[in-house]
C-alpha cells in the first residue's frame, strides 16, 4: 500500500522513563513533500518522539507506519536504511576526517564486497550535490569548515544515506541570519524535490516562516495541530506553554551606579596568533546591562575569554574591575571577586555531563562561597543550593544526584544560568543565556536578568540573538570583525540599523 496520504504516521506512541511519561499516546501524521514542524517546551517530549522514530529508544507501545505500512526497526541503522535521516543539533561528524569520509561512513559502496568503491561514492555524492544544489568541499577536513557548511554536509550525508524524511533538531540555533536563509532555501529545495522535513525548533518566527504544518506538544502529549496561516507567534507560544506569554522583556528604568568594569585597549590573539579582538574599550556601571550584538564568530568568544581570565590578552590591554586590575588574573580570582560567567559552550565550559547535578551546581560556588569547613564538601549545603537552583529556575530533574547528561539541553541551560545568577555576583558575563530553551523559560530568564540589574548587578550580555540584546540592554554595542561599534542606548536604533552595523555597514563610524 504505497499510496497512503501520509509518508509517516506515528500512532499512539507511549514511552515512559521510570515514573516519567515522556510520550503519552502521541499521534503524528506527516504528509509527503511538506515541512512539518514540531514545537514544544523543553521536556515536552519532542526529542523522545524523534528518538523513537530513529530507534534510539524503543517505544513502550504504539506503531510507526511508513507509507501506510507498519514497520518495526531493528536498530537505528535500520531506521536510516528505511529512509529516516536525522540531523542533530550537535553535529555527528568526525572532526579529523574529510567531508567525503564523513558522508560515506557506514554506508560505503563496495567492490567485491569488501573494497570501498570511492569513485562510485564520489559520483553519487556529486549527483546529490548537483541535484539539490549544494556546494560543499568534499576533500576539506571537517574541523576547518564553518558551522553553516557543516550543516550542509549533514544534509548531504542523510541524503546520501537515502533519507526521504529528514529530521532537523534545532537546525538554526548555530546559524547566522544569512545562514538561516541559506538553510531555508535548501529546505524549500528539498521539499520541492519530494523530500519531507520534520523541523524542530524553539524559534517560532522561523517555524511560521518555513512550515506547512505545525504540531504542538506539551507534557508528552500533542496539544494542537495548526496551519501556519491560522496562528501568529503569540498564539503559538501560548499553545506551547499553556498560558499567555509576553515575548517582550519587561524593561524598567535602570538604576545606574558607578563604573564597575572598565576595559581599555583590549586586544586578544587566538592560538594561531591571529588578532581576534582589536583595541576594544568599554565600561559597565553597576545596575547596567550592556549588550554586545554581532554575527557569530566576530570575536565575542575572545572578549569573554579574556574578561574571565581564560585567555591572556595582549600587552597593553587593561581590565579594571571594582578598582582592581584583573587583566591577567585567573578565573578563580574572578569568582572570588564576584564575577559570574554563563558560557556559550554549554557542554564544554558550562557543565560536566558525566557528573551529577549537585556536583555541577556547586562549581564556582564552592570557591566563591565555600563550605563551613574549608576542606570538606558539605553535602547538606550543596544539596540546598542545588534545590534552590532547581526550584527557582524550574530545572526538571528526578534527583540531585542524577547525571547532568540525563537532562535535556534546556534544563541544563537553566541549571547553568541558575548557578551563576544565585551566587550574588557583582558582575555577570552572560553568553547566549537562552540558547535552546523554550519561550516560557526565556521570558523568565529575561526577567531575572532585569531583576538582577535592578539590584545593582552589572551585566555584560553577549548574544547571537539580536532581539535579545535589543530587548534587554541599556547600552548596546555591536561587534564586527573584532572591533566594537556603538549601537546606541536602549531603543535608540532600529533592528535594521543595528543589523547593518553587525554586517560591517558602519565600519567607519566607530
Amino acid at each position: 500500500m504505497g499510496n497512503s496520504e501520509y509518508i509517516l504516521e506515528m500512532r499512539n506512541i507511549r514511552k515512559t522513563f521510570g515514573e516519567l511519561v515522556a510520550n503519552d499516546n502521541v499521534n503524528l501524521k506527516v504528509r509527503k513533500g511538506t515541512v512539518h514542524s514540531i514545537i514544544g517546551e523543553n521536556g515536552a517530549g519532542k526529542s523522545t518522539l524523534m528518538n523513537i522514530l530513529t530507534d534510539i529508544h524503543k517505544a513502550d507501545s504504539g506503531d510507526i507506519l511508513l507509507n501506510g505500512e507498519k514497520v518495526h526497526f531493528k536498530n537505528s541503522l535500520d531506521a536510516a536504511r528505511r529512509g529516516i535521516g536525522m540531523i542533530y543539533q550537535e553535529f555527528m561528524l568526525y572532526r579529523d576526517l574529510s567531508v567525503f569520509d564523513n558522508i560515506i561512513l557506514g554506508f560505503e559502496k563496495k567492490k567485491w564486497g569488501f573494497i570501498i568503491d570511492r569513485k562510485a561514492c564520489r559520483k553519487e555524492i556529486e549527483r546529490i550535490c548537483s541535484e539539490y544544489s549544494f556546494n560543499i568541499p568534499l576533500d576539506a577536513i571537517v574541523k576547518d569548515l564553518s558551522v553553516a557548511m557543516l550543516q550542509q554536509v549533514e544534509i548531504v550525508k542523510v541524503l546520501y544515506r537515502g533519507a526521504d524524511i529528514i529530521i532537523m533538531d534545532e537546525p538554526t540555533s548555530v546559524l547566522t541570519p544569512q545562514g538561516i536563509q541559506g538553510l531555508f532555501r535548501a529546505i524549500r529545495n528539498l521539499v520541492g524535490m519530494g523530500k519531507t522535513i520534520i523541523f524542530i525548533s524553539h524559534k517560532l518566527k522561523e517555524v511560521l516562516e518555513i512550515s506547512d504544518y505545525i504540531t504542538i506538544m506539551n507534557h508528552g502529549r500533542v496539544v494542537a495541530e495548526v496551519l501556519p496561516n491560522e496562528v501568529d507567534e503569540a498564539k503559538l507560544a501560548s499553545l506551547m506553554v499553556g498560558r499567555d506569554v509576553i515575548l517582550q522583556a519587561n524593561k524598567v528604568e535602570p538604576k545606574i551606579g558607578d563604573v564597575l568594569l572598565s576595559v581599555k585597549g583590549l586586544t586578544v590573539k587566538d592560538k594561531d596568533e591571529i588578532v581576534r579582538v582589536k583595541n576594544v574599550d568599554f565600561e559597565i556601571h553597576s545596575g547596567e546591562i550592556l549588550g554586545i550584538a554581532g554575527v557569530a564568530g566576530s570575536g565575542q568568544q575572545w572578549i569573554v575569554e579574556a574578561l574571565f581570565g581564560l585567555r591572556r590578552p595582549e600587552h597593553g590591554s587593561q581590565i579594571i574591575f571594582d578598582g582592581k586590575d584583573i587583566t591577567y588574573v585567573s578565573p578563580r580570582e574572578h569568582r572570588l571577586d564576584g564575577i559570574g560567567y554563563v558560557p556559550q559552550d554549554r557542554m564544554g565550559s558550562g557543565v560536566n555531563a558525566k557528573s551529577s547535578l549537585w556536583e555541577n551546581s556547586i562549581m564556582g560556588y564552592h570557591i566563591a562561597h565555600g563550605f563551613k569547613n574549608k576542606y570538606l564538601v558539605d553535602t547538606k549545603q550543596a544539596n540546598e543550593f542545588t534545590d534552590e537552583i532547581v526550584e527557582q529556575f524550574d530545572v526538571r530533574r528526578q534527583a540531585n544526584k542524577d547525571k547532568v547528561a540525563a537532562l535535556s539541553g534546556g534544563n541544563i541551560q537553566k541549571m547553568v544560568v541558575g548557578r551563576e545568577f544565585l551566587q550574588r555576583n557583582k558582575l555577570l558575563i552572560i553568553e547566549d543565556p537562552t540558547r535552546g530553551i523554550d519561550v516560557g523559560a526565556i521570558e523568565f530568564i529575561w526577567q531575572k536578568i532585569i531583576d538582577l540589574a535592578q539590584e545593582g548587578v552589572a551585566v555584560l550580555l553577549i548574544s547571537h540573538e539580536l532581539n535579545e540584546v535589543m530587548q534587554l540592554s541599556d547600552t548596546i554595542k555591536v561587534i564586527y570583525n573584532g572591533q566594537l561599534y556603538d549601537g546606541g542606548r536602549h531603543g535608540e536604533l532600529t533592528e535594521e540599523e543595528i543589523g547593518l552595523i553587525m554586517l560591517g555597514g558602519n565600519a567607519d563610524a566607530k
Binding site: S61, G364, V377
Partner: protein, 385 residues
C-alpha cells in the same frame, strides 16, 4: 580520550538509557554483574583445569589450602593482597580523575630501586630507617610521574603514550644501574648477583603484621591508603575538584579550579602511591631490588581498579581476592599438577567478564518487560470494555 567531549558541536556520547536508572535497578545491576561474572569465572576456571586432566575441585581445595589453610597461608594471602591493593589504589586515584596513568609499573620500579639503594647504603635506627626509605620511595615515584604530567600539561602530549613509555625507561634504567653501575654486589652465597641490588640492612626490614608469616606492615598501610582515597573523593573539596578536572578540564577551569595544580596533584599522588608500593615490596618481601620485579604489577593494579569499578572500598575486597588467588595458586601447583599460570589466565578472564555491558543488558530486558506489561494491561482494559 578525555578531550573529545570538550569540543562543542561534536558530542559523541550516545543517549544512554542509564539516565533513567532507579535505585533498585542500580542494585540489581550490581548483583547481576558480580554473580554472572563470578559464575563465568568459576566455569572458565573449571574448564581450564579440567582440560589439564585434573579435578577442578582438587584445584580449588589447593587454592583454599594455600590461602586459608593455615596462619602462614593466610599471611601469604595478605602479603599478596597488599601490593595488589596499593597498585590498585594508584590506578584508582588517576582513573577516577580521568588521568590515564599507565605508568604505575615504572613508578613501582623506581620506588623499589630507591628503597633498595637506601636500604643498603644507609644505616639508621630501625623505625627511622624505614620511614626515611618509604618517604624517599614515595617521593621518587612522585618525581617519576612529574615528567609525563609536565609533558601533558604544557606540551599536550597524551599521557597514554608517555606513561607507558616511561615504564620501559624505568625498567631498563634500573636494570642498567644494577648491572653496570652497582655491578651486583655479593649475594648471600658470596657470588656476584647481577640481577639485583645487595640485600638491605636489617634496620630497614619492614616488621611483620602477623608474626612469623610473610604478611608485613604493608597490609595495614594498604588498607589505610584505600580508606584515605575513599575519604578524599567522597568528602573533600580537593577530591571534588580533582574529579571535575579529570572529567572536564574546561568546565573546571571556568569554574575557577586551579586546573594546572590539580592535574599535577592527581598525577603525583598516583605516582607517589605506586612509588610507596615499590618501597614496601622491597623492604617487606624481597629485601633487595630485583630487576623487573615490578613487571605486570602496574597492569594488575589497573585490572583490579577496573573490577572494583574505581571504588576504593571495593578495591580492598578485590585486592584481597587477588591475594587469595595468588597465594592459593602456588599451593595448587604443588598439590595438583595444574600450572599456576592457569590462575592468572582466569584472573584476566574475570576482568573481561566484568567489563561486559551488564547495564545495557539489564535495561533492554527491563524495557521489554515494561512493554509487555503495558500491552497486557491494555488488553485487559479492552476485554473489560
Amino acid at each position: 580520550m578525555p578531550n573529545n567531549e570538550k569540543r562543542k558541536l561534536f558530542n559523541f556520547f550516545p543517549k544512554k538509557l542509564s539516565a533513567d536508572l532507579e535505585k533498585k535497578d542500580k542494585r540489581n545491576i550490581l548483583i547481576f554483574k558480580y554473580t554472572t561474572s563470578l559464575i563465568l569465572f568459576v566455569v572458565a576456571g573449571a574448564l581450564l583445569v579440567w582440560m589439564q586432566d585434573e579435578s577442578p575441585i582438587e584445584a580449588v581445595k589447593g587454592i583454599w589450602k594455600g590461602s586459608f589453610g593455615s596462619l602462614t597461608a593466610f599471611g601469604n594471602t595478605l602479603r599478596w593482597a597488599a601490593p595488589s591493593i596499593l597498585t590498585g589504589a594508584a590506578a584508582i586515584v588517576a582513573f577516577k580523575a580521568g588521568v590515564n596513568n599507565l605508568g604505575i609499573e615504572g613508578q613501582v620500579a623506581i620506588g623499589g630501586f630507591v628503597a633498595g639503594i637506601l636500604g643498603v647504603f644507609f644505616e639508621f635506627p630501625p623505625v627511622v630507617h624505614i620511614l626515611f626509605i618509604l618517604i624517599c620511595a614515595t617521593l621518587s615515584g612522585l618525581l617519576w610521574s612529574v615528567i609525563p604530567a609536565i609533558l601533558r600539561l604544557f606540551f599536550k602530549v597524551d599521557e597514554f603514550i608517555t606513561t607507558m613509555m616511561m615504564n620501559y625507561v624505568a625498567n631498563y634504567l634500573t636494570q642498567y644501574l644494577v648491572q653496570q653501575v652497582l655491578a651486583g654486589g655479593l649475594d648471600n652465597w658470596g657470588y656476584v648477583n647481577m640481577a639485583s641490588t645487595p640485600t638491605i640492612n636489617g634496620s630497614a626490614y619492614l616488621p611483620d603484621f602477623i608474626p612469623d608469616t610473610t604478611a608485613t606492615l604493608a597490609v595495614p598501610v594498604a588498607f589505610l591508603i584505600s580508606f584515605a582515597i575513599a575519604f578524599l573523593y567522597r568528602y573533600t573539596v580537593e577530591g571534588y575538584e580533582l574529579k571535575q578536572v579529570g572529567e572536564n578540564l574546561k568546565f573546571a577551569k571556568a569554574g575557577g579550579v586551579k586546573v594546572v595544580q590539580q592535574y599535577l596533584i592527581i598525577f603525583l599522588l598516583s605516582g607517589a602511591i605506586a612509588g610507596l608500593c615499590g618501597g614496601i615490596e622491597v623492604l617487606g618481601t624481597y629485601h633487595k631490588f630485583n630487576n623487573g620485579f615490578a613487571a605486570n604489577m602496574g597492569w594488575e593494579g589497573i585490572s583490579i581498579a577496573r573490577i572494583a569499578e574505581l571504588n576504593p572500598v571495593g578495591l580492598i575486597f578485590v585486592g584481597f581476592i587477588w591475594g587469595v588467588l595468588k597465594a592459593g595458586s602456588m599451593q595448587m601447583e604443588r598439590m595438583v599438577g595444574v600450572n599456576r599460570l592457569t590462575v592468572q589466565i582466569v584472573e584476566y578472564m574475570f576482568v573481561l567478564f566484568i567489563s561486559i555491558d551488564y547495564e545495557g543488558i539489564y535495561m533492554r530486558h527491563k524495557d521489554r518487560k515494561n512493554k509487555k506489561a503495558y500491552l497486557e494491561s491494555h488488553k485487559e482494559a479492552s476485554n473489560n470494555a
